[in-house]
Symmetry: C2
Subunit: 141 residues, 2 copies
DNA sequence: CCGTTTTCTTGACTCGTTCAGGAAAACGGG
DNA sequence: CCCGTTTTCCTGAACGAGTCAAGAAAACGG
């Protein structure tokens, strides 16, 4: 993903194009499901002197603009991903915390229909599959 | 839920019956989806001098024993509920954070089948419906 | 009732995240 | 191309949910 494209994404969302934002957006594309800490390290590969605050701030801005998505499974720190708008879900290993993407099998926004919505206006259904990843499954012997 | 029944639940799980545990378990039954803080307050209604640590510890023990379930939606503190083993899901208001239970429409453990499991051994599918509750929907005018 | 084991109390501490104020960078108009 | 305004970034401190540790107290089995 060339830097110019990242900048264009920012502009299209009416966001100022700053070095930290471009670097953060690029890092999220390069490291799917990465934690904030990992992203800070990745960003500092390009910009050694960015503050953690700039990364936190950029992540919040990008999330608010819908360019990235924040996910935060129970017992985990915040993670970010660039796959958005395609209603996919996540498969998380209870043992090592690794995350895999899962396409939604049924249709576009299939899970958006709850049995009883209690009068709520539902706008998203988030599905998390919990289990054990292949690497952790074969760990015992 | 009489105290004796709560104690019986603990014994059935081979847990020692202590005042804090009984009080915590009772509080979770009385306050579905309550945060740890709320539960601490509730427990102190019965036992004014329990430490927060005892409550944290009891909650962890009860959760490990499967007597209660811990839920932790993104951006929220940990919450606990006593409805377990019936594969129900949650409806959460983005505005006020209130949580409602939703029965699973399709069957017993319907969502347990991901489109592609990536080799994971899946043991649970957690579904969270995000939206706006009736009270918050009618807030603007 | 006693001894062992588990649990509770007290208090300090960690870590991810947020808050605050001044300095620096980005953008639009001239 | 430069300048002023606005937004963003940096430094450094603070917050809060949750955890850790060591000794005192309570629960259970004999």
């Amino acid at each position: 993903m060339p830097l110019d494209d990242l900048a264009a994404l920012l502009r299209r969302s009416s966001l100022r194009v700053t070095q930290p934002r471009v670097a953060v957006l690029g890092a999220v594309y390069q490291h799917p499901h990465a934690s904030t800490d990992t992203l800070i390290d990745a960003v500092r590969g390009d910009l050694p002197d960015v503050s953690h605050q700039a990364v936190y701030d950029s992540l919040a801005t990008l999330t608010a603009a819908g360019l990235i998505r924040r996910i935060q499974p129970s017992g985990s720190v915040a993670r970010y991903e660039s796959r958005i708008g395609d209603n996919h879900h996540h498969l998380i290993c209870r043992s090592c915390g690794s995350i895999a993407d899962v396409d939604c099998a049924v249709g576009e926004t299939p899970c958006l229909t709850a049995a009883d919505d209690h009068g709520f206006t539902i706008d998203e259904a988030e599905v998390i599959y919990w289990g054990t990843c292949p690497a952790c499954s074969t760990g015992s012997p």
